[in-house]
């Protein structure tokens, strides 16, 4: 798929190089190498336990929070290794936003949820925060529903609204990359449609990596799809091509529903 933006998107914006990952002695990822292009949606699909979420969480080093882990190989974003000891993991996470499978709004107001990334970065200027809230909520297609209740608890929102709030929060500080870990798995179909539309809009600005179990969703909103199986990258291609004409037998079996 060709992107006609004025600035040239980099095809290897995120570059994963011979990456293996271990939980203790158990190896979860095996020698994965792939490039993720800028301002496109890349979907990770595969059966449960195939390592797609693990790989996603390595992109912003969320796995660091787990005990007894180690990795081999490297992940390079924008020509810089994320494991470079000079890089603070906090600043990496500021560049790489994340939306989780289960929406996790903080027990604060809608407003405070959205501006949280700015607050922790030390931004407390009201005008900037107000602008951010409006832009982010609009970006997450929640503005119309939430604009009159910004100071109500985020927990008063419905499930789909909460997930869009989490997306608004993730994009509030305008990260370069947005990671989405099965963002629609807990949502009803109508909310899912809204989030998918949102993903298509967001890719104009962000490089998106989405993990999904839903192959229709991958076809609907991703540009490229990677299929993982048992911790290995089996196939990576344009979404249309992968779903219509998979190169690997395993991919074909999976997408046609023979296993998974």
């Amino acid at each position: 798929m060709i992107n006609n933006d004025s600035t040239e998107p980099r095809p290897d914006f995120i570059s994963i190089r011979n990456f293996s990952f271990f939980y203790g002695k158990k190896q979860a990822l095996f020698d994965i190498s792939m490039d993720i292009p800028e301002r496109q949606v890349t979907a990770f699909i595969g059966p449960s336990g195939c390592g797609k979420s693990t790989l996603l969480r390595n992109l912003n080093r969320m796995n660091d929070l787990i005990d007894d882990i180690h990795h081999e190989g490297d992940i390079v974003i924008h020509n810089k290794s994320i494991y470079d000891p000079h890089i603070e993991v906090i600043s990496l996470r500021k560049r790489v936003g994340m939306v989780f499978q289960k929406s996790n709004p903080f027990p604060k107001s809608i407003y405070e949820n959205v501006v949280y990334p700015l607050r922790v970065a030390g931004q407390n200027k009201k005008s900037i925060l107000d602008e951010t809230v409006e832009r982010s909520l609009k970006g997450a297609a929640l503005w119309d529903e939430a604009k009159d209740r910004l100071h109500e608890s985020a927990l008063s929102l419905s499930g789909g609204q909460m997930q869009r709030l989490c997306i608004a929060r993730a994009i509030a500080n305008r990260p370069e990359i947005l990671l989405m870990d099965e963002p629609c798995s807990a949502l009803d179909p109508i909310a899912t449609v809204k989030v998918e539309e949102l993903i298509r809009e967001l890719k104009e600005e962000f490089t998106i990596v989405i993990v999904t179990h839903n192959m229709q969703q991958a076809t609907r909103c991703s540009d490229r799809t990677a299929f993982f199986y048992l911790g290995k990258l089996i196939e990576l291609d344009d979404t249309q091509k992968l779903f219509s004409n998979p190169a690997s037998k395993q991919t074909e079996d999976y997408i046609t529903g023979r296993f998974g």
Partner: protein
């Protein structure tokens, strides 16, 4: 066609529940219900039990009419009673005693042998209740001392009281030929002071005689006249009444214009001098004094005015004064009639005041009216038995009425327990707790306020010490420490929570208190220095380049911190004496050198006391008891914050500290609040540590270097000294009730706040 299914898969009874299951279900429901009801019933039962134990403290006196005996028509000058209250005696003008037996109603006239013919004529009489002696003044300036000589014997299982009055040989006083109008005396055992008023031409003369008793090894020695005094010139106005206290070294003269003169023996001329003149009813239209008598203890005087006002003046050192003077200490409601008499008891600070048809039983210390009634007769004189159980009242038609008093807690009530009370001998009303004293006329002081204060003080110092440490430790353990170390710390802290408080108290009293006593400056340095050093170490660490930091995995920073903290703690402790020499130096009274001595410096600098067993020790040790509780519950609350929130915060680029502070703490606030409240409850109710480490002084000052007494410690300390159903016994129950209500209130408020916090910070 499906294959044939077995019977159990098709039979009707596959839809049935086993009877045993149903029975168990119903039975357990019942057991649980019964258990719940039992718990509520027992809590209520305890509550009601305590309530009924403390109720009599607030109950008024119960006074019931028992019997009336008509006496022969006569003028009875004094009325007295034996200590059992069954044989009152009255003095007839011709020198005979009339007794009226309470049990039998028998009236008996008992002559007294004055060994003189003709029988002397008596013009004045006074009864000394404390000595149980009657003094009779004659018309020719002499006085006889008569002892009623009660004796008690048992006959037919009944107590039989007999009286056998004996008169001592007469002594002269004042002008030999003049009749004695009024006489009073006091006897301290070593000296006796007799004072009499006689007419002298137009005016009246006041004479005093001082007798000294020389004690010998063979018993009470001879009493001999030491000196006589003519006090007339010292008193301006017409003297009407004399009161002499049991100390026999001073006297009170009231005059017809309502003034009171306080004369004291001694000084340079070895005579009497007027120390003070005051008029208790100066503010009234008619300031004259209708009745006056000493309260039990002879330190306070009860006055009644013509218009029925009633007040008490007591001896005390006025603020800044060096002499004990009389001052107004208690005021009572008007009687509603001119008081005819005031009768005090020998048991407590109660007194009976009567006039018109009114009779009122009052308690001086607590300013309270125990009992008051309008009677169908007019009382003119009365006496209360020595045990404060019965009173005999003579009315204007010479009928003697007996009343039974049931007032076991006369000295109690709201005022005594919670109000400021003006006890005898002190210069202002105070909240005071002192349940026992050395002498019989000691008045127990039962104010719970110092104990409530002590409870708050102990709790406050314990919480000041425990809360920051416990909360920060829990925050660090749950949010920053690596899981390996965390799994060690938690059980260790829980073991600490199970340490018996008696062990902590023992340690505090035997080891910590003496240690702290001499090392306060070191302690202060460590307490002030360690947080600063910890914070700056953390600051430096977080600003170190990542190359240095990467050697210590996140969560194991304590490997660097602990040695630094221990080393600096050791150094700071060692610097203590030097710090003491600089900051807390006093001049040594013997060597005149400046030396560092904190225990001496503190009282000199602040004017407060420095005790070895002080609030610092208690705060420290009780903190130790409270820290594990707060820590464990807080740690649980923090760890129970959904991981998704922490991860969500981290994913937003927040640091561990930002996540802990902005997300984890607010979300866990309800649990943390519970932890604080449970810790507070523990501190409030903690007993053994306080008993052993505070000195148990019921004082009211926030000074950290003085002790305290808490409600719980008070119960533990006083319990062995509280006789069953005594005022102290019931007051201890009241202390328990206050403690119960205190914790109940704290818990209720805490629960309401906790629910609100939980509502506010509930998660998905």
């Amino acid at each position: 066609m499906p294959e044939k299914l077995p019977e159990h898969a098709t039979g009707k009874n596959r839809f049935q529940t086993a009877p045993a299951t149903l029975f168990m279900d119903r039975f357990m429901t019942l057991v649980i219900k019964a258990g719940g009801a039992l718990v509520i019933t027992s809590v209520l039962g305890i509550f009601f039990f305590i309530f009924f134990q403390i109720w009599p403290l607030f109950a008024p006196a119960s006074v019931t009419a028992a019997k009336s005996i008509q006496l022969p028509d006569n003028h009875y000058s004094i009325i007295g009673i034996d200590e059992w209250g069954s044989l009152p005696f009255l003095m007839e003008p011709d020198g005979k005693l009339l007794t009226a037996d309470f049990e039998t109603g028998k009236i008996q006239e008992i002559p007294i042998d004055f060994a003189e013919t003709p029988q002397p004529r008596f013009t004045a009489a006074t009864l000394n209740k404390r000595e149980q002696e009657i003094m009779l003044g004659t018309n020719d300036g002499r006085f006889f001392l008569v002892s009623p000589n009660f004796s008690s014997s048992e006959s037919d299982g009944r107590q039989l009281i007999t009286i056998n009055p004996r008169a001592a040989s007469p002594e002269s006083i004042g002008i030999p030929t003049q009749p004695i109008l009024s006489i009073a005396y006091g006897d301290s055992g070593t000296q006796k002071l007799v004072v009499a008023i006689q007419p002298d031409g137009e005016g009246r003369r006041i004479s005093a005689s001082l007798y000294k008793r020389k004690r010998s090894l063979l018993g009470a020695g001879k009493t001999s006249l030491e000196a006589t005094f003519d006090l007339t010139s010292l008193i301006s106005g017409t003297p009407t009444r004399i009161l002499v206290p049991g100390t026999a070294d001073s006297l009170i003269v009231t005059t017809s214009d309502g003034r009171v003169h306080f004369l004291v023996l001694g000084g340079d001329n070895n005579g009497f001098s007027v120390i003070q003149t005051f008029a208790p009813f100066d503010h009234l239209e008619n300031p004259s004094i209708a009745a006056a008598t000493f309260l039990f203890g002879d330190v306070s005087i009860i006055f009644g005015s013509e218009s029925g006002e009633n007040c008490i003046f007591s001896l005390y050192y006025p603020e800044g004064g060096d002499k004990r003077l009389y001052g107004l200490t208690h005021e009572f409601a008007e009687l509603g009639a001119t008081p005819h008499f005031i009768a005090s008891t020998l048991r407590n600070k109660a007194f009976l005041i009567g006039g018109g048809n009114k009779l009122s039983l009052r308690y001086s210390t607590t300013d309270s009216i125990r009992w008051q009634q309008s009677l169908p007769f007019n009382p003119v004189n009365a006496v209360i038995s020595g045990k404060y159980q019965r009173m005999a009242i003579l009315d204007s038609s010479n009928k003697l009425h007996f009343f039974e008093i049931h007032d076991p807690h006369a000295d109690s009530g709201w005022n005594a327990l919670f109000g400021k009370v003006w006890y005898e001998g002190v210069s202002s009303p105070k909240w005071e707790w002192q349940s026992t004293g050395g002498s019989d006329d000691f008045e127990p002081k039962y104010s719970l306020i110092p104990l409530i204060f002590g409870t708050f003080k102990g709790t406050l110092y314990a919480m000041i010490f425990a809360v920051p440490i416990a909360l920060l430790a829990a925050l660090y353990t749950s949010q920053f420490l690596d899981p390996g170390s965390r799994s060690m710390i938690k059980p260790v802290m829980e073991i600490m929570a199970s340490l018996p408080s008696v062990v902590l108290g023992f340690l505090a009293a035997i080891y910590i208190a003496p240690l702290i006593e001499n090392e306060v400056p070191s302690l202060l340095l460590v307490a002030a220095g360690l947080p600063v050093i910890a914070a700056s170490t953390g600051f430096v660490w977080s600003h170190l380049p990542i190359q240095f930091r990467k050697f210590i995995p996140a969560g194991r920073e304590w490997i660097v911190f602990l040695p630094i903290l221990f080393a600096s703690g050791y150094v700071l402790w060692g610097l203590g004496p030097a710090f003491e020499a600089i900051a807390f130096s006093v001049t040594d009274p013997t060597s005149r050198e400046r030396i560092g001595d904190f225990p001496a410096w503190w009282p000199a600098a602040t004017g407060t006391t420095y005790d070895q067993r002080n609030s610092l020790v208690v705060g420290f040790m009780m903190g130790f008891a409270v820290i594990p509780i707060i820590f464990t519950i807080t740690e649980d609350a923090l760890s129970n914050v959904p991981k998704s929130l922490r991860i969500g915060s981290m994913a937003c680029g927040a640091s561990r500290w930002q996540t802990a502070l902005r997300i984890v703490l607010p979300t866990a606030s309800a649990g943390i609040f519970s932890a604080l409240m449970i810790g507070l409850g523990r501190a409030v109710g903690e007993t053994m540590i306080v008993v052993m480490a505070t000195g148990n002084t019921p004082i009211m000052e926030w000074n950290i270097f003085s002790g305290m007494r808490t409600l719980s410690a008070n119960i533990a300390v006083e319990l062995p000294e509280a006789p069953h159903h005594s005022t102290l016994y019931r007051t201890l129950f009241l202390g328990a009730m206050v403690l119960f209500l205190l914790t109940f209130a704290v818990n209720t408020v805490a629960e309401v706040l906790r629910q609100r916090l939980r509502e506010k910070f509930k998660t998905v």
